[in-house]
């Protein structure tokens, strides 16, 4: 108990310290505008990785559609922000958009979970994979507008909406959503990351979390001690989808024109998040955050090296995998950590 509490506190400390250092760099003007632009995406991918790790590492179900939940969160919150922009204070509007984005992603998580989580096996991976692609394609072909007469929806074109003069186009088909208020900044993103970490880490160290992990470790035994399997699988999955939705909210409020393209919400993105989770250590929440940050920034920072960029990226992937998963190296790492702890203890004494 004490040990896990210490571990979670260290995670928060790492995030906060990294935030302070980066803020100082930014304020001191030591950061290029290119790098500054990468900070918010880095954090929302870290949030998505935390969400996916809850699903893959803690619940033990593979999801290949977390970009789909990000997409749902992004679009629903962007619509809320567009509708309310100017009507209520900005801070309140963003919080409302965040809550609605999270709730709608959670609803979609539940919709998918109800049929799929009753089954045992890898069905969830297949269904979420399809979900991610379907949601992207639907959003690509929807035209949504609003005017004094109400909401207009069309699958044909913007003209088919027949909006009155005071009308406003919300989703313009494949052109996506334009002009969502740019509310996301590094500080807000870090706050959302800390809240996600708080919820996930608390959950792991609780009655619900233990039930979820017991299902992962041994479903039959878990059932035999009276755990309601479907209920707890659902809880884990819905929370995971909701947090991915929060990452989507940050996304939509950080980009001038958001389109439901593969680049942002495709299968590749889901796999990329999965790579962060696997390399950070499955079930290791802190590892996901660190891996997401390093692996997101690395290819961008290596742009100067042009030709060798992807080569170096893949070498880093391999090295991280070996460090995190080779038993011998893990032993060594743990021993080193113990030594350091001891050293620090002696130093203090």
């Amino acid at each position: 108990m004490r040990k896990t509490q210490k571990k979670t506190l260290i995670t928060y400390a790492i995030v906060i310290i990294a935030y302070i250092i980066l803020e100082i760099f930014m304020k001191a003007g030591l950061m290029s505008s290119h790098l500054k632009g990468l900070l918010v995406p880095m954090v929302y991918y870290a949030i998505a990785a935390v969400a996916l790790n809850l699903c893959v590492g803690i619940l033990g179900e593979l999801s290949l559609g977390h970009a789909g939940f990000m997409c749902v969160g992004a679009f629903s919150s962007a619509i809320v922000s567009q509708l309310l922009s100017g009507a209520i204070p900005d801070a309140l509007r963003f919080i409302l958009a965040l809550i609605i984005g999270v709730v709608i992603s959670a609803l979609f998580g539940m919709l998918i979970g109800i049929p799929v989580l009753r089954l045992n096996g890898d069905y969830l991976a297949i269904v979420t994979l399809a979900f991610g692609e379907i949601i992207k394609n639907i959003l690509n072909s929807i035209y949504l507008g609003v005017d004094s007469a109400g909401v207009h929806l069309s699958l044909k074109s913007q003209m088919a909406l027949g909006l009155a003069d005071d009308g406003k186009v919300l989703i313009n088909g494949a052109m996506g959503i334009t002009g969502t208020p740019q509310d996301s900044n590094f500080t807000i993103a870090i706050v959302v990351l800390l809240i996600s970490l708080f919820i996930v880490q608390n959950m792991i160290d609780s009655r619900d979390g233990r039930a979820i992990m017991s299902i992962r470790d041994n479903r039959i035994a878990s059932e035999s001690v009276g755990i309601n399997i479907t209920k707890y699988k659902m809880t884990g999955f819905v929370v995971s989808a909701a947090i991915a939705g929060a990452a989507g909210v940050l996304f939509s409020h950080n980009i001038a024109t958001m389109q439901a393209t593969s680049q942002y919400f495709g299968y590749n993105v889901s796999i990329m998040i999965l790579v962060y989770v696997v390399l950070g250590g499955i079930g290791n929440i802190r590892g996901s955050v660190i891996a997401a940050c390093i692996l997101y920034l690395l290819p961008e920072l290596l742009r100067g090296l042009n030709k060798y960029r992807m080569l170096i990226y893949s070498i880093v992937l391999i090295v991280m995998m070996i460090i995190n998963w080779s038993p011998a190296l893990r032993d060594k790492r743990d021993k080193l950590r113990k030594k350091l702890m001891k050293g620090a203890g002696h130093g203090a004494a």
Binding site: M1, K3, F198, I199, N202, M203, D205, S206, R207, D208, G209, R210, A211, M213, S214, R216, D217, N218, I220, A221, S222, E223, S224, V225, G226, I227, N228, I229, T235, V239, G283
Partner: protein
């Protein structure tokens, strides 16, 4: 009134009648053995009792309550807990958390309290810790509370599985070959543990076992299964002297 009453329990897999017309009556506090050659259907009986399989025919009554057709998780709440032939621990959870999963249904706080660590969380977790440590103490596992359960030695894994089952506060405990894979010392220790559970918790136990020393040492009554049918049942001594039973086990 009998604690467990099983009447005419049967199940067929394809063309094979795995359990045929199984009857069993257990009184409260009894230690009952279920024995039989490999493939006789012993574990199938356990799986029927715990709802893993649905019986084609028959009736299961626990403490007067008809529990036939209940699902596994419900049956645990009804009051039957079990261990498994091949140990099934939550191997990536610490020893204490294995027991705390067993305590799940006796303690309650909401999912919101789980996520925010507010409200009843701290108080209930403390109570759960105390209760779990009490149980671990009984099974002499308290020193290993923070070990991952996968890292425990074999004998202790068996004990932990029993502790986890006991944490669900069952009326009836089913042990599926608890001594499988144990050396004589471990078996002797296990026998003590089983005795301890009976004395301390006044537990009714039904166990499957091949180790005759254990069976004749602690079981008061036996039922012998062969090819899914009851071959003999009664007091341990009489059953083990029954020529039919000897024939089924050792051959002529």
């Amino acid at each position: 009134m009998a604690l467990l009453e099983v009447t005419n329990l049967s199940i067929t897999f394809g063309g094979l009648r795995a359990v045929d017309n199984f009857n069993l009556t257990m009184e409260k506090g009894e230690l009952y053995g279920l024995i039989g050659p490999n493939g006789a259907g012993k574990t199938t009986v356990f799986n029927l009792l715990t709802g893993v399989y649905k019986a084609d025919e028959g009736l299961i009554k626990l403490d007067g309550l008809d529990i036939t057709g209940h699902r596994t998780a419900e049956i645990d709440r009804d009051g039957i807990a079990r261990t498994f032939q091949n140990i099934r621990l939550f191997k990536d959870l610490p020893v204490i958390d294995n027991v705390k999963v067993g305590l799940h249904n006796q303690f309650n706080y909401s999912t919101a309290e789980s996520m925010l660590h507010c409200g009843r969380y701290h108080k209930v977790e403390k109570e759960m810790d105390e209760e779990a440590m009490k149980l671990l103490g009984v099974f002499d596992l308290d020193k290993e509370r923070d070990y991952l359960s996968a890292n425990l030695p074999y004998g202790k894994q068996r004990k932990l599985e029993i502790a986890r089952a006991m944490a669900t506060k069952p009326k009836l405990l089913l042990l599926d070959e608890p001594a499988a894979g144990m050396n004589p010392n471990e078996t002797a220790e296990l026998m003590e543990t089983i005795q301890l559970i009976r004395d301390k918790f006044d537990m009714t136990i039904l166990l499957i076992e091949h180790d005759m020393k254990l069976v004749s040492g602690i079981c008061e009554k036996l039922t012998v299964l062969n090819f899914g049918r009851i071959l003999a049942h009664g007091d341990t001594k009489d059953v083990l002297a029954n020529p039919e039973v000897i024939k089924a086990y050792i051959g002529e």
